[in-house]
């Protein structure tokens, strides 16, 4: 397919993984994808959680699914027929997972071949990995050059993330860390590991930090990624992360450098 000049170079393929389930991989994939799209980058998000698809629901595209990743792999349809344009952004597309198969139905080579179909068309391809470290995880990593490891500041999540960092580094992928659901008040009280603690333990480059934020729950309920909500702190964080992925230098906000007025507004509940 003929590409425009700004799409002639190949996409960056990034797997979003964590080991532990429920720490925010799907939310991160969807929201980061939306943030990149809002910044003008053509982005494809792929749901690699075959059998337990959720990326469609977080993006509010659950009633638009016709074909999926397995169909593309088995050549049941053309690659362009399986991707779904998002409701809110012409730059954002979804390749959903199959809901009726399981993770062994495609191999790593199959996934690589599927992704090859889209490399010329998108600036970014984000692959939402399933939890765990088995075939689904291996498939999700198959075509990636980079990995975003998502963790929360909790013992079990960090332990699993550490294992995944090892596995992913062994595959030769660059690793980037997102710390999700940080609560700066709990950190101050000494009841939550801080950003620095988590960074020191995992020892990989920090891409961004997302605070615990009720607006994410609301966004999931409505199927509209939180980055479309200008008042959401989490939305801001994802936008910062997207900008960093695009090469901009955005300083990280931590408890230590939260400005006086933002601390004040937090305490007053503004």
């Amino acid at each position: 397919m003929a590409g425009q000049s700004n799409k002639r170079s190949e996409s960056q393929v990034i797997v979003v993984t964590s080991g532990k389930g429920g720490v925010g991989k799907t939310t991160t994939t969807a929201t980061l994808g939306a943030a990149l799209a809002l910044r003008g980058k053509r982005t494809l998000v792929i749901d690699a959680d075959i059998g337990l698809r959720n990326l469609d629901v977080i993006l509010g595209l659950e009633n638009r699914i016709v074909f999926n990743l397995v169909d593309v792999s088995k050549e049941v349809c053309k690659p362009s027929q399986a991707i779904i344009k998002s409701k809110k952004s012409a730059n954002l597309y979804l390749l959903p997972a199959s809901q009726t198969d399981d993770k062994d139905v495609v191999s790593e080579d199959d996934v690589r071949r599927v992704i090859d179909n889209y490399r010329q068309e998108f600036h970014f391809i984000l692959v939402d990995s399933p939890a765990g470290i088995e075939q689904g995880f291996r498939n999700a990593c198959a075509a990636a050059d980079k990995a975003i490891i998502v963790t929360t500041p909790e013992v079990s999540a960090i332990r699993d993330a550490d294992r995944v960092v090892g596995l992913v580094s062994a595959k030769g992928l660059d690793t980037l860390l997102i710390i999700n659901r940080i609560d700066h008040d709990l950190v101050k009280r000494g009841d939550m590991l801080s950003v620095k603690d988590v960074q020191d333990i995992l020892g990989i480059e920090l891409l961004g930090v997302v605070e615990r934020d009720d607006s994410i729950i609301v966004a999931a309920n409505c199927g509209e990624p939180v980055v479309y909500n200008p008042r959401s702190r989490a939305g801001q964080s994802f936008d910062d992360i997207a900008r960093r992925l695009c090469g901009e230098k955005i300083p990280l906000v931590t408890e230590n450098n939260l400005g006086f007025w933002s601390r004040l507004s937090k305490r007053l509940g503004v």
């Binding site: 950190v187 000494g190 939550m192």
Partner: protein, 138 residues
């Protein structure tokens, strides 16, 4: 009101009191073990090789050989326990018995008989009763 103001102007030092310290310590412990990453096969090979090396120098009971991790004050050490029965001489591969304490009959015998042997040559009849004495005493 004072409490509120205090909170507002409190410094940014993060407390290490509270449950975070426990989390950090426990995480450190599990991560060292996870990262040391010996699978059960590797652990079995490690034990076998360690036992082989130790048996070149000592006699041990291979069934009592034990490997474990000890975690203390943010430091994790590998602990190897191997009860030693006796020291093994490398050249002869023979066990060295622990030396007996005090004079042995053998030693005394040697010291006494030498002069007897000399005396025997000089005068046979004089030395014979002394030999008998020693023989009866030994």
């Amino acid at each position: 009101m004072v409490g509120f103001l205090k909170k507002l102007f409190s410094g940014s030092a993060e407390g290490d009191s509270g449950s975070k310290a426990a989390a950090k310590s426990r995480l450190h412990f599990v991560l060292v073990q996870d990262r040391a990453g010996l699978s059960s096969d590797e652990l079995a090979r490690f034990k076998k090789e360690m036992i082989e090396v130790i048996e070149r120098y000592f006699v041990i009971d291979p069934h009592a050989f034990d490997v474990s991790y000890k975690h203390e004050q943010q430091l994790t050490t590998l602990q190897i326990n191997s009860p030693i029965l006796v020291r093994r001489l490398e050249s002869s591969k023979r066990k060295i018995e622990a030396p007996q304490v005090g004079p042995s009959k053998g030693e005394a015998k040697t010291e006494v008989t030498n002069p007897e042997i000399k005396g025997k040559d000089a005068s046979k009849s004089a030395t014979i009763p002394k030999d008998e004495n020693i023989a009866s005493a030994g």
